[in-house]
């Protein structure tokens, strides 16, 4: 059967640029370095699900990526295009600035509902966490907002007709969970290895249209999101103070003893 899959993604500040150039990857352009790395996995998973369909089904299928964020967040959608997304939606509204987890989930949920109003969706996929905040709670909040079953932190996902089954390793246990579709599924980085986009996709991603929705388009009250709707307030945010310069001991036979001497000096043993 044809599948309509929504993938919610996040644009994150480029705090891991070193990783972007590792693993023999070609250097990414400035326009595509900022999709949350863990969000490549749900896009890849959606692409694989479509690849498992026959050609006619695939022609009817769609991968819709949605992001909520300021103007530059469109870069995350461009990257998702490179990885194989077919449609992209950017929820951008000044009133969203300062959203907490709940506000972000509300805006995402409204966008997913609007996509679903055009035609039924089978699955909402998400990454397991954003590498900037690592809260990991937006997928669970999104499921609650949408009133859909949640299957989170999946290391394996199987779709069998109208049922999704996931396997996950959390908190020292392996769990298998099942739910009827449509469901919200977040996936971790063990589920697949995202492919390198080919040149054709990279070129095509530059010019594919991105739909932009405002809160008004979504029918979301601006007072419920952003700073206005936030249930938490940041008092202060500061770069971590620099550590004292590292003490380096070059081992010439007493490295282990020097290590212990350091621990003693710091009162750690």
């Amino acid at each position: 059967m044809a599948r309509r899959i929504v993938v919610v993604v996040k644009h994150v500040p480029n705090i891991h640029s070193a990783r972007a150039f590792a693993d023999g990857r070609t250097v990414r352009g400035a326009e595509d370095g900022s999709l949350n790395e863990l969000d490549e996995h749900p896009v890849e998973e959606a692409v694989r699900i479509l690849e498992g369909l026959d050609e006619a089904e695939r022609a009817e299928s769609e991968i819709v990526v949605i992001t909520v964020g300021p103007a530059e967040a469109v870069d995350a959608l461009r990257r998702a295009f490179q990885l194989g997304a077919t449609t992209a939606i950017h929820v951008n509204d000044e009133a969203l600035a300062g959203s907490d987890y709940a506000g972000t989930a509300k805006a995402l949920a409204a966008a997913v509902r609007k996509v679903a109003a055009d035609g039924p969706i089978d699955l909402v996929l998400a990454g397991m966490a954003a590498l900037d905040g690592l809260g990991s709670v937006v997928p669970a909040l999104l499921a609650a907002e949408l009133g859909l079953p949640q299957l989170t932190n999946a290391g394996k996902l199987e779709l069998d007709g109208a049922t999704a089954r996931v396997e996950r390793v959390v908190d020292g246990a392996t769990e298998v969970l099942e739910a009827p579709l449509p469901a919200v599924v977040s996936v971790n980085d063990h589920i697949n290895r995202p492919r390198f986009p080919n040149f054709k996709l990279i070129m095509a991603a530059r010019t594919k249209p991105v739909t932009t929705w405002t809160l008004a388009d979504l029918g979301v009250d601006a007072a419920e999101v952003g700073e206005a709707g936030a249930r938490t307030r940041v008092l202060s945010a500061e770069p971590r103070p620099e550590r004292a310069p590292v003490e380096i001991h070059v081992d010439a036979g007493a490295g282990g003893e020097a290590l212990v001497e350091f621990l003693v000096r710091r009162g750690l043993v």
Partner: protein
């Protein structure tokens, strides 16, 4: 009734209470009268500890269903929060999602993985380290009820000045309510992983962690030796896990276990961003690596340039000699 109760979700009450739960009780006491809740009936040992920590009000959430499902756990907890100003829970993946679901149900504000908890102008405040440990953020919850997951080692556990006599009451969630709260999700199976060498503390909550990476070349013997001399938990990089040298549960990193021990010792670990994101908020960082150029040396307090196969056993022997 004004909200004033400080509720603690205890993860494990079937044996003696462990460090992280005692830490939560210690924090909770500073925010209001404490109510301890758990999904199991507390053992005699657990009750004794609760008494020592000054907790009189103990709730057994008696669920006729599967409390490992997020929706079910949240539905069971909601009724014990009607007079609460705060709910504190350990920073496990399951708890984060349960608190998220509760935030949706109650309209409460949510702080995930606070490393310190306190008050600011009468509001519950949490301090955390984000962006791979590079930024410190202080936030307050502005709603009447605050939901927080709290990292291990946030405080040192301290018994109360005045002990209490705990009384346990059951709050039930019946089968129909549990079924409805599951929201269509079914737990097909749940297999707890064996904890080999159970004398070591669990990684997520250990105050000292010794971790090994590619530089161990697959031999975790020296890492284990030093860990045992320190009473530490064992961690590993994703590389070491992918090589099959050590169990998946030992993986420290952004998608593995995120740790904040008082002392982290990394051996044969270069310090890839993925790993650093999971340990960079540790208080004191020590690294042993034969490569003087490895990135982990840039974020550590003490570095030994040398072969971990000789440095670690020597350190372990020196520690044992001190305590002998």
């Amino acid at each position: 009734m004004t909200r004033h109760i400080s509720v603690v979700l205890l993860d494990d009450v079937t044996g003696a209470l462990r460090g992280p739960d005692l830490e939560l009780l210690t924090v909770a006491r500073t925010l209001g009268p404490v109510r301890a809740v758990a999904f199991e009936a507390p053992s005699a040992d657990a009750l004794a500890a609760l008494g020592t920590y000054g907790v009189a009000d103990v709730v057994h959430l008696d669920v006729d269903g599967e409390p490992h499902l997020t929706g079910v756990a949240a539905a069971a907890l909601a009724p014990v929060l009607t007079d609460a100003r705060v709910l504190l829970a350990r920073a496990t993946f399951a708890n984060k999602e349960v608190l998220a679901r509760l935030a949706h149900l109650t309209g409460a504000g949510l702080l995930i993985d606070a490393a310190r908890v306190g008050e600011h102008d009468g509001l519950v405040a949490g301090w955390k380290r984000v962006f791979a440990g590079s930024w410190d953020v202080d936030s307050v919850v502005t709603t009447e009820l605050a939901l927080l997951t709290v990292r291990p080692n946030a405080v040192r556990p301290v018994p109360a000045d005045a002990p209490a006599d705990p009384v346990v009451r059951a709050v039930a969630l019946d089968a129909a309510a549990a079924e409805a709260a599951a929201g269509g999700v079914r737990l097909v199976s749940r297999t707890l992983h064996e904890t080999s060498g159970s004398a070591r503390p669990p990684l997520a909550e250990a105050s000292v962690v010794v971790a090994g990476g590619r530089g161990t070349l697959g031999d975790f013997g020296p890492v284990e030796d030093l860990a045992d001399a320190l009473g530490a938990a064992i961690g590993a990089t994703r590389d070491a896990v992918d090589e099959g040298w050590i169990d998946h549960d030992a993986q420290v990193g952004q998608t593995g276990v995120t740790i904040t021990p008082h002392l982290y010792i990394g051996a044969g670990i270069s310090g890839a961003p993925h790993h650093r994101g999971g340990m960079q908020a540790s208080e004191v960082i020590v690294a042993v690596n034969s490569d003087p150029e490895c990135p982990i040396f840039e974020i550590c307090d003490f570095a030994v340039v040398g072969d971990l196969a000789t440095v670690l056993p020597q350190a372990a022997a020196a520690l044992r000699a001190r305590t002998a």
